[in-house]
């Protein structure tokens, strides 16, 4: 008799464990790949997008709770209206006004990137979020402290339970939630996109058409559509800033060939993501165009072979190119309420 009872309990416990592992009260979200775009690089099977995970990530993104003195959130240096970068700051500052040494990158179409940071040092979107939390010039916090605070907060444990099935918060669930938000930041509805989708009543002006031709000849090899980056690294010949001494990708790979190479950034929403370059040295897009047109030192030993031939644009060409770059602005992205501060 007792054996039967024990067997019964054994079964009950097993069933309980099985049902716990199968519990999915979450609402799955489909990641929509824009038409004719390449397949995303991000592996969604390891971190399926859910409404609960996305909303939790969004809340964390805007919450200064992650920083040591609770003053800085992810959103402090990644503002939606400016393409999720820190507008008007050459390099961003973290807690207590501490300055980093790089321009905060935009968070746009990250699902198609296989590495992150200007030097590509981060090899998976899921581990990116550890950096700003721990960096002394950013949030200067520890993962232990971040977990401790979230665990004792009134709201977070239940939100983690909704998203990941357990009130227990750990590094992995924090990172996965942040990724679900970040990977959802897709910009694919600029005028450029609308023209290429042949949407009714949308067409380039003559100036924009001329700009596109210039762009295709001189820029598109590296800033390749539809992402407007080939996601590789290159040196555009900028002289090293003697104070920052940033050697770019070399600091990650220790390979001389990677000296002074930086990640080729997307140009989507470039109108609003000033200042420009890895150290934010150019305040205006015009300055960037002037640099590529007339400022490159072709004798620079690290210079990308794509830039060896001087472009020497005339004033009209510069204006045309600028007009085309403005067509990469996607207001429906910059003002998408789904990405904004959660109310």
């Amino acid at each position: 008799m007792k054996i039967r009872i024990l067997f019964f309990f054994f079964c009950v416990i097993s069933l309980g464990l099985i049902s716990f592992s199968l519990q999915t009260n979450t609402q799955l979200i489909e990641f929509v790949v824009p038409k004719k775009w390449p397949k995303p690089v991000y592996n969604f099977t390891k971190n399926p997008l859910t409404e609960e995970g996305f909303q939790l990530g969004r809340k964390l993104f805007y919450d200064p709770i992650l920083s040591r003195d609770s003053t800085i959130a992810c959103a402090s240096c990644h503002l939606q209206y400016t393409g999720f970068t820190h507008v008007d700051h050459a390099v961003s500052h973290g807690i207590e006004g501490r300055k980093g040494n790089r321009n905060s990158p935009v968070l746009i179409n990250l699902a198609w990137n296989s590495n992150f940071h200007w030097d590509g040092g981060v090899n998976n979107l899921d581990v990116q979020g550890i950096n700003p939390i721990q960096h002394p010039a950013e949030m200067d916090n520890s993962l232990e402290e971040a977990i401790r605070r979230l665990s004792k907060s009134e709201t977070y444990p239940s939100l983690f339970k909704k998203a990941f099935g357990s009130t227990e918060i750990n590094t992995a669930t924090i990172m996965k939630a942040l990724t679900q938000y970040n990977v959802s930041l897709v910009s694919s509805n600029s005028k450029y996109d609308q023209v290429f989708r042949k949407e009714k009543g949308i067409s380039f002006t003559e100036q924009e058409k001329n700009g596109l031709k210039i762009f295709n000849t001189h820029c598109a090899a590296c800033h390749k559509a539809p992402l407007f980056t080939n996601t590789f690294f290159a040196s555009n010949g900028l002289k090293i800033d003697s104070l920052l001494n940033d050697v770019g990708r070399y600091s990650i790979t220790q390979q001389p060939k990677d000296s002074m190479q930086f990640k080729i950034p997307t140009l989507r929403n470039i109108e609003f993501t000033f200042p420009y370059m890895h150290d934010g040295r150019f305040r205006k897009l015009k300055d960037v165009i002037n640099y590529y047109s007339d400022g490159i030192n072709v004798k620079d030993k690290y210079l990308s072979s794509q830039l060896l031939k001087p472009m020497n644009f005339n004033e009209m060409q510069k204006k045309d190119l600028l007009a085309f770059l403005y067509t990469l602005t996607d207001k429906s992205f910059l003002y998408n309420k789904r990405f904004s501060f959660p109310k």
């Binding site: 040092g121 981060v122 090899n123 899921d126 550890i130 993962l143 750990n170 590094t171 220790q254």
Partner: protein
């Protein structure tokens, strides 16, 4: 009834744990003496060494018989001198004449995103700015260090070519006794590092590769006295 209960419990254990558990036991040493944190070790040449942190990943634990792989354990163990429970690893396997394991983390795992358990970055064995695991971490102070505070720090890791640092240790097992006793002696590492030249290696690269190559020599089978 009690006997029945016992049988059920044993059956249950058999079901869950399979055969009898055996242990792989690491004995941490420095130049033959037991290795303890923050203890001052003085060598014959009167140089001294104190160790404040000693941690490393042990993975790919594999068992061989007559040169053939019999079983590979898919676990990542984190040895930590501060935590004696991390010195022993339980495993099940009855017949083998050789074991091998890796010191460090393979490249696939290094690019697999966020992981938990012993691989949780919270364990302090992960570089966030240059994503990847620190395979081996040794910190302390020494008379030989050129740093002002006499410190030395070795964070060895890196999985990208040509600077891969994962190491493989292969050890023959003579006798099939219950526990495999392995000595882990830091001395060959300290002897191989010239602290006067380099007291710090904290990034992947050629220096990390050179120093990592010393690691397999730290592991030897302790002869079973019985």
């Amino acid at each position: 009834m009690k006997i029945l209960l016992l049988i059920v419990t044993l059956l249950f254990q058999f079901f869950v744990f399979g055969q009898e558990n055996r242990r792989l036991q690491l004995t941490p040493l420095f130049n033959g003496s037991p290795l303890e944190l923050d203890k001052n070790y003085i060598l014959e040449d009167s140089s001294w060494y104190k160790f404040s942190t000693c941690r490393f990943y042990l993975s790919n634990l594999s068992f061989f018989k007559d040169g053939k792989l019999k079983e590979k354990v898919n676990e990542f163990y984190l040895f930590d001198l501060e935590d004696p429970s991390s010195f022993s690893i339980t495993f099940i396997n009855e017949d083998f004449d050789q074991i091998s394991f890796s010191i460090g983390i393979d490249s696939t795992t290094n690019v697999s995103g966020i992981l938990d358990g012993t691989l949780d970055p919270i364990n302090g064995m992960y570089w966030a700015w240059n994503s990847g695991y620190i395979n081996f971490k040794l910190e302390g102070t020494s008379s030989e260090s050129t740093e002002k505070n006499k410190s030395f720090e070795f964070h060895l890791g890196g999985y990208l070519a040509p600077y891969q640092t994962i190491q493989t240790v292969s050890l023959p097992i003579e006798k099939n006794s219950n526990d495999i006793l392995i000595s882990f002696d830091l001395y060959p590492f300290i002897a191989g590092v010239d602290l006067k030249k380099s007291s710090n290696v904290m990034i992947p690269g050629i220096n990390a590769v050179k120093l990592s190559a010393l690691l397999p020599s730290l592991f030897t089978i302790l002869k079973d006295e019985n």
